[in-house]
């Protein structure tokens, strides 16, 4: 209610306060010309201030009624319903999907970390392809934004994975066609590549700028259902002296990404690197970027070597129980660990 809370510039705020306008109520009763005279600004500026003030007071004024508070809010029951019916992005590995509750969840930020060569980028490319599985096959039929900070995105590899995915889709719809006489247009791997929007960022400034810009980009490309950031770490890890600044920038970026997931109902997948941490007299592996960063993501999945097997472990999640599942990286992409079960998971 205080004028001090209005989103206006410091000098204008100062003028308002010194002229005695301390509450929104006092502003609302002032006419633009009075205000302009009192605080010695042009009438245009006065109108602008009044507009902001009346907007703010409308928000505040509605405090009394419960219904108005609920603008943008949902009941837990509605949320449950929505979550149950929203399709998830399959990882193409049944075991991994199972522990993830069906795949990567839209509307959430998922962080995936692991040692070099464990398959983070592979999983990233796989998700960028899988998000395009058509709706009639149980996918999302969306598009993907792939942000490459490390230069490790290999288009040849994306093509391999896309080819495998197309084969699986046509096999699946061939089985479906017995029931529905729908003749689907056959997807082509090139269509899949065409729907991956690739950005290459070369510095952390570009990374932040891109995250800021994504909101506009996705408004123009509403079909985007997944944003993959590979990796969130790289630019923030090299040559970054001011740790407080780093934490703040990362926190801001995470908030913006989280806003995106809610606004556009899409999944954000952040890939992270690992670092060694000295605790209790021994070195332990942990995901990079520090402790405050680890609060930023909704889900955290760690990929690790368990003996000779690649495994994924749910390190943090508000809804899933911590569990681990084996997976493997094949020439066709991410698949189940057991070689017998190679079929892509649909539905």
């Amino acid at each position: 209610m205080e004028v001090g809370r209005l989103p206006i510039s410091t000098s204008r705020r100062g003028k308002l306060l010194s002229a005695g306008y301390t509450t929104l109520a006092s502003l609302c009763s002032a006419s633009p010309s009075d205000l302009a005279r009192d605080i010695e600004v042009s009438e245009g500026e006065a109108i602008e201030i009044l507009k902001i003030a009346s907007h703010t007071s409308r928000l505040d004024g509605s405090n009394g009624s419960l219904a108005a508070v609920n603008v943008g809010a949902q009941t837990a029951w509605d949320m449950l319903h929505e979550e149950e019916f929203s399709a998830r992005i399959t990882t193409s590995c049944l075991d991994l999907d199972n522990i993830l509750g069906g795949g990567i969840s839209p509307k959430e930020v998922t962080e995936i970390g692991g040692v070099p060569g464990i398959g983070k980028t592979q999983l990233g490319i796989q998700l960028a392809v899988n998000v395009q599985i058509p709706i009639h096959c149980g996918g999302l039929g969306g598009k993907a934004v792939y942000i490459d900070t490390e230069g490790s995105f290999m288009v040849e590899r994306a093509l391999q994975i896309a080819e495998a995915c197309v084969e699986d889709i046509s096999e699946y719809s061939a089985r479906l066609r017995k029931d529905f006489q729908v003749d689907q247009v056959k997807m082509h791997p090139n269509n899949i590549l065409e729907n991956i929007f690739y950005f290459r960022t070369c510095s952390y400034t570009e990374q932040i700028a891109l995250v800021n810009y994504l909101e506009k980009f996705i408004t123009e490309h509403k079909e985007v259902k997944v944003v993959i950031l590979d990796s969130v770490t790289f630019h923030f890890r090299q040559d970054f002296g001011d740790m407080a600044l780093r934490t703040r920038l990362l926190g801001g970026m995470a908030l913006k990404l989280m806003k995106l997931t809610k606004k556009f109902n899409l999944a954000v997948v952040l890939l992270n690197q690992v670092t060694t941490k000295h605790t209790e007299g021994s070195f332990q592996l942990t995901l990079a970027l520090g402790d405050s960063w680890s609060h930023s993501c909704t889900n955290r999945v760690i990929l690790y070597w368990n003996g000779n097997e690649r495994c994924a472990y749910i390190d943090k999640s508000p809804s899933l129980k911590s569990a681990s599942a084996p997976y493997s990286v094949t020439s066709r992409g991410i698949r189940n660990s057991a070689s017998s079960c190679k079929r892509i998971k649909m539905m």
Partner: protein, 372 residues
Amino acid sequence: MANKDINQMGLPKWITNIFTARNITTAKEVLSLTEFQLMELLDVGLADVTSAVAHISEVVCPPCQTALLLMEHRVRNENLAGHLPTRLKGLDEALCGGLPFGVLTELVGPAGIGKTQFCLKLSLLASLPENYGGLDGSVIYIDVESKFSSKRLIEIGMKSFPEIFHMKGMAKEMAGRILVLRPSSLSEFTESLHEIKVSLLQHQVKLLIIDSMAALVLGESDYGGPRQHPLGWHVSFIKSLAEFSRIPVIVTNQVRSQIRDAVCKYSFQAQSCAETKDDTARYDSHLVAALGINWAHAVTIRLVLEATSGQRYIKVAKSPMSPPLAFPFCITSLGISLLNDDGVELTGLEISTITCQGQNDVLNIDGERLWG
């Protein structure tokens, strides 16, 4: 782009002037501040700050390409679709054509395994004329350990590509394209990197080799520990060099023995850790790459060269496109060559371990000592 001047961004004149007056000149500075801080600093309202930040972000952020365009562009504009073939058939197939342009490829292995031999061969390949399958360009070879041998280079050339090297003047021309730099310290290296950036543009440089990256750091610090930071800047600089000039960059890395305590696990693996520690009592031969995990994240392709019971193997330990394959190889007067092209697919961790057992150190080439 990040350091682009705000004056040039097409913002409304009045707000550009305010930015200038507050001495905020680059996008980097603006994007490092929160909107609230900007409001305080610039003395303007939230709506103006938000739209200015959105505008700056849009100008600074890199252009969008679809993956399809990316692929078509590469196929159309680059020799061999952006790969330097190693002429090791199996390896080339696994890597979809060879060492890709624009990324870092790392060779890691114990001393004397053949890293430098591989580098020499690669620098010849890049300098060969295009009709012989080369890249027809110059090579910058940063020789930190002073192991570059021009005599050996010519020998490999003579034996592997006799049709070219026996042509009159060709040996001179080929060798003349390989530029060797010998920085003696990290700071010298840093300096030469800046110069290289310039010369990459001026000359037709098609390959950059750094042999070895580890020696630079090991030479500087007297005690090892997890060395992560000294190379931070270099890593991103070299990566951006590779990226913007679209050439392959080869770096080599040494090995060190694994310290027992440093067997790293995640905290949730702590229990299984205790069990495994007892039954793996073979730490003596356990080697790891000298540069730490941060470095390992930065390289796109890691090739491990190792020796197991007298046989040398080259393993694709990290690669975005290749399955984990191991190829037996040997070093002959032709340089490095594979014993078979099929490769053995390895499962699990085996692909990234480095062993050095029973390597027959005395490998004679024409009665001479072996080449490191």
